[in-house]
């Protein structure tokens, strides 16, 4: 199949398209929630659902051979290490700043439109 290109019934694209609209609406709806664990969980849930749908269906990754799946989806896993390192480092920097410079005295303006 790969040699002749990716040809699939149109129906699957319509379903995916609709799902993306619904998931985007859900994503946007999280902005009306208070910040907290539930909100962050839902943001990530809808984000990965959308990203998965785009890669698997629209970019046809689901129909590609395993060799390509591994070559493309494998390396980004390393980013998890970078995220962990930078989060760790960031918390440390914040601690040192608070200790040596003290708490922030910044007085933010409220955005007006």
């Amino acid at each position: 199949m790969a040699a002749e290109g990716q040809q699939h019934p149109l129906k699957i694209y319509w379903i995916m398209w609709g799902a993306l609209f619904v998931l985007s609406a859900f994503s946007y709806a999280t902005d009306f929630m208070d910040r907290g664990a539930l909100r962050h969980f839902l943001i990530l849930l809808f984000m990965f659902a959308k990203a998965g749908g785009i890669v698997w269906i629209f970019m046809h990754m689901g129909w590609e051979r395993l060799a390509l799946k591994i070559a493309i989806l494998g390396p980004p896993v390393a980013i998890i290490v970078l995220i962990w390192l930078m989060a760790y480092e960031g918390l440390y920097v914040q601690d040192t700043r608070t200790e040596y410079y003290g708490e922030s005295t910044f007085e933010p303006e409220t955005p007006h439109h």
Binding site: S24, T30, D31, I72, H113
Partner: protein, 223 residues
């Protein structure tokens, strides 16, 4: 056959190695190369987003609330993130038209492919236009890469860097799609064996731009 063939050395060897006609991925090389380009782009955008995470964690100043900063007042009512939500839907719509264009391309329906790609490009241009509006609005409110009145200075740097780089990708995509669309219409690919995998390759790039926006929307605007 059992005897080992002597391989050329030096510059002739370089040519030999690069043209030995072995391939791993059973697909047009352009498509495989687009996938590798997108993989490298994934790392670039990841570095931006991780950098943003790091400065947001490490700053002691309060982080500006994106729902307020990007809110719009409509009919006297303040709606959070309104423009960004519309931009998200514009990009999702363009993703759908692109997916259909790829399908029509493989069916060799040149007319439909052309119009679907033009529609995709038009939606992409709309997105960039709205982003220009958003940038203008924020700059007029005093947001700079080094300071802003709403909170931590790093907000501006992250915002202009991340959305700017994404906007540049969308702009490049609009040009890319239009070039391919007009070549589809003019019959350029008919002269080259009538293969329309180029539409799928352009589509991969476009879906990737949409994919990056999903992450930016989640981490920068919603988090």
């Amino acid at each position: 056959m059992s005897e080992a063939v002597a391989e050329p050395q030096g510059s002739a060897g370089v040519v030999h190695d690069w043209s030995r006609d072995k391939q791993v991925f059973g697909m047009p090389w352009g498509k495989a190369m687009m996938w590798f380009f997108l993989l490298s782009d994934t790392f670039i955008f990841s570095c931006f987003l991780v950098g943003y995470m790091k400065v947001r964690i490490s700053t002691t100043d309060p982080w500006p609330n994106p729902s307020e900063v990007f809110g719009l007042t409509v009919f006297g009512q303040s709606v959070p993130l309104l423009l960004i939500a519309i931009m998200t839907f514009v990009l999702i719509t363009s993703s759908g038209t692109m997916a259909l264009a790829v399908n029509m391309g493989y069916r060799k329906d040149r007319k439909k492919t052309f119009w679907l790609m033009v529609a995709t490009a038009a939606l992409g241009a709309t997105f960039v236009g709205m982003q220009a509006f958003e940038w203008t609005k924020l700059i007029m409110e005093g947001v700079r890469p080094w300071e802003n009145p709403f909170g931590a200075a790093q907000f501006g740097a992250s915002f202009f860097m991340i959305t700017g780089f994404h906007g540049m990708h969308v702009s490049a995509g609009v040009i890319y799609l239009l070039v391919v669309a007009f070549r589809v219409r003019s019959g350029f690919y008919e002269k080259r064996g009538g293969k329309y995998e180029i539409v799928e390759i352009a589509g991969l790039y476009w879906h990737f731009v949409d994919l990056v926006w999903v992450f930016i929307f989640a981490f920068f605007y919603l988090w």
